[in-house]
């Protein structure tokens, strides 16, 4: 590219440019991450407590990962969350993006509205959804009762409904994020391609199927990778709404379970092992998503 510039031949200033940022990264991301790996093999009983040597056997925590029923629940829920994220978040976002792309008036307004929930903290949203899903007189129960759809209030957080109650806010919050990414991708498709397609008699849904979607594939792939890795990290909203694994230990997610083990139960080393699992799953899943969806001839 532009490597030949004389201005950038002298490498001295590079130290000033790079050292501060990388000092931060190493001290606050990489060193703790390595330490976390070590912790996951050690025996630590409290947050402030030093490690009391290695576990016996040293892989004990990783063996527990395979037998812990709560972790299995957490993983199962997280898989459901991931699938729903991909299908609903990206799906709804794609439909909305295609629709907004086809209109002129009000497109900017819709963008602003759709993106809005993302800037609100999950704590505030969690409280808000607690009010909405309230058993006695929450918005949803009142609405359904007013419409005459339910005879008595639904407990949205019981074992039959908690999945819906937990997933809906998470889905809802981030649709706008993928929407905006997809709209930007759509804007980058050159207009003359559509015109050429129209000349060949390709209009309406056919246009979407044969022109838009193939050209959007790269952006869609980015969305999917973000959705998959994002789903693994979900913490705030379910934590504010459900706390520790409600109802009856069935509502765990990997994020909330790891937090609970570490901070409420003092199982610091096991928490570290769960964190490792989250990282490994994130790397593996995003690679898989990349393999599956990435077109071969790009770059």
């Amino acid at each position: 590219m532009n490597s030949s510039s004389t201005l950038y031949k002298k490498k001295g200033p590079l130290v000033v440019f790079l050292v501060p940022a990388f000092l931060f990264l190493i001290l606050y991301l990489y060193y703790p991450f390595v330490q976390n790996i070590i912790n996951s093999f050690s025996d630590i009983t409290g947050l402030g407590a030093p490690a009391q040597g290695l576990n016996d056997p040293w892989w004990a925590n990783y063996a527990t990962l395979f037998t812990d029923p709560k972790l299995r629940t957490a993983l199962g829920n997280t898989v459901i969350l991931t699938v729903c994220t991909v299908v609903f978040q990206v799906g709804i976002a794609l439909v909305l993006a295609l629709l907004v792309d086809s209109i002129r008036v009000g497109a900017q307004l819709f963008r602003t509205l759709y993106f809005f929930p993302i800037v609100i903290s999950a704590t505030a949203l969690g409280l808000m959804f607690n009010l909405i899903f309230l058993y006695n007189g929450g918005m949803l129960n009142q609405l359904l009762a007013n419409l005459g759809l339910i005879g008595k209030n639904i407990d949205w957080k019981d074992t039959d409904h908690f999945m819906f109650t937990m997933l809906t806010p998470v889905m809802w919050q981030y649709v706008g994020f993928y929407f905006v990414i997809l709209v930007t991708g759509l804007n980058n498709i050159p207009q003359d391609l559509y015109e050429a397609a129209a000349l060949d008699g390709c209009v309406g849904l056919n246009k979407v199927r044969y022109v838009t979607l193939p050209l959007l594939r790269n952006v869609l792939c980015t969305c999917l990778v973000l959705a998959v890795t994002g789903a693994l990290k979900v913490f705030d909203l379910p934590w504010v709404m459900f706390g520790a694994g409600m109802p009856q230990d069935r509502g765990w997610l990997t994020g909330t379970y790891m937090y609970d083990q570490t901070f409420n139960r003092g199982n610091v080393d096991y928490g570290s092992a769960i964190a490792m699992l989250i990282v490994v799953l994130g790397v593996v899943l995003s690679n898989v998503a990349n393999r599956v969806f990435k077109p071969r001839n790009d770059l």
Binding site: F17, L18, P20, A21, Y31, N39, W172, V175, A275, V279
Partner: protein, 285 residues
């Protein structure tokens, strides 16, 4: 394109409006109910509270009275502004160095930054806490040190994203400008401050806004380091209110509104930058 409303177009607008309603209405509902008299929320939460018909400011008065919002806003601002300023400075410098210089470890540095985006906070927070406790910053009982203990890991957490977004923009600044400035006798730092920063101004704004919002909204890190009441930030205060308010739903609604308002103001004023910056980063990455 004509101004005619075809059936397809009507459908489009209906679908778009329905989704817009789902994003907007919950907030409207909460705002309405924050002005409603106690006890009425659970009976009739959909009407507009009018003076004489259930309208009250009591919920806000009670929220302000029982909880120290001013102090929490102050703490939040200290943390988020510091994080924003440091992230913008460090990420800008690093992005510039990585884009313009060719050196042996460049690939490694770039990978380090990309991989840095993958770490969930969960996996680094415990060692960070222990490290900071050993330095005497974390859980020292001193308010300013505790805030610093939050600021530092938040900077590291936002740095990778910020650097990647800025790299994308700095790459698109034409290098000829920099070269001619160099020929005119500018030092490389002068080039950075007088050419790069002004040229990529809007992307710096985006990065700043995002660092601010993420820092302001973050619950996990703050919850971890700030334990004493006078250290509490606005997010933590809200978390505390949610556990204390019990069945006082009016109080909860009012508190949600109080925390959302500053963010809402920032969003409405700066939404163009916000949307632009996020998508730029995501697509480049």
């Amino acid at each position: 394109m004509g101004r005619k409303m075809t059936p397809a177009k009507v459908c489009t607008y209906v679908v778009l409006s329905v989704w817009a309603l789902t994003t907007l209405y919950p907030f409207v509902w909460v705002i309405l109910n924050s002005f409603r008299e106690k006890g009425l929320i659970r009976k009739d939460s959909f009407s507009i509270p009018l003076p004489g018909g259930g309208f009250t400011m009591d919920n806000y008065a009670k929220a302000m009275d029982r909880f120290d919002f001013a102090n929490a806003y102050f703490n939040s601002l200290i943390v988020s502004v510091s994080v924003t300023v440091v992230v913008v400075i460090l990420a800008g410098l690093a992005a510039y160095g990585l884009v313009r210089y060719r050196f042996r470890l460049r690939g490694v540095c770039y990978s380090l930054i990309m991989a840095g985006m993958m770490f969930p906070v969960f996996s680094t927070i415990i060692p960070v806490f222990r490290m900071e406790a050993a330095w005497g910053i974390a859980s020292s009982g001193n308010r300013w040190l505790s805030l610093l203990a939050v600021i530092l890991p938040q900077i590291a957490g936002n740095l990778c994203f910020a650097t990647i977004v800025l790299m994308g923009f700095i790459e698109s600044v034409p290098i000829e400008l920099e070269e001619s400035a160099y020929v005119d006798g500018c030092h490389v730092f002068q080039v950075y401050f007088h050419i790069i920063m002004p040229a990529a101004k809007s992307s710096f704004a985006t990065v700043a806004i995002f660092s601010f919002l993420w820092s302001y909204n973050d619950l996990f890190t703050q919850n971890f380091f700030l334990r004493v009441p006078r250290e509490k930030t606005i997010t933590l205060l809200l978390n505390e209110i949610s556990s204390q308010a019990g069945v006082d739903y009016g109080l909860m609604a009012a508190s949600v509104v109080l925390i959302v308002i500053p963010v809402l103001a920032v969003y409405v004023m700066l939404q163009k930058h916000i949307i632009k910056g996020l998508t730029a980063g995501a697509i480049k990455g």
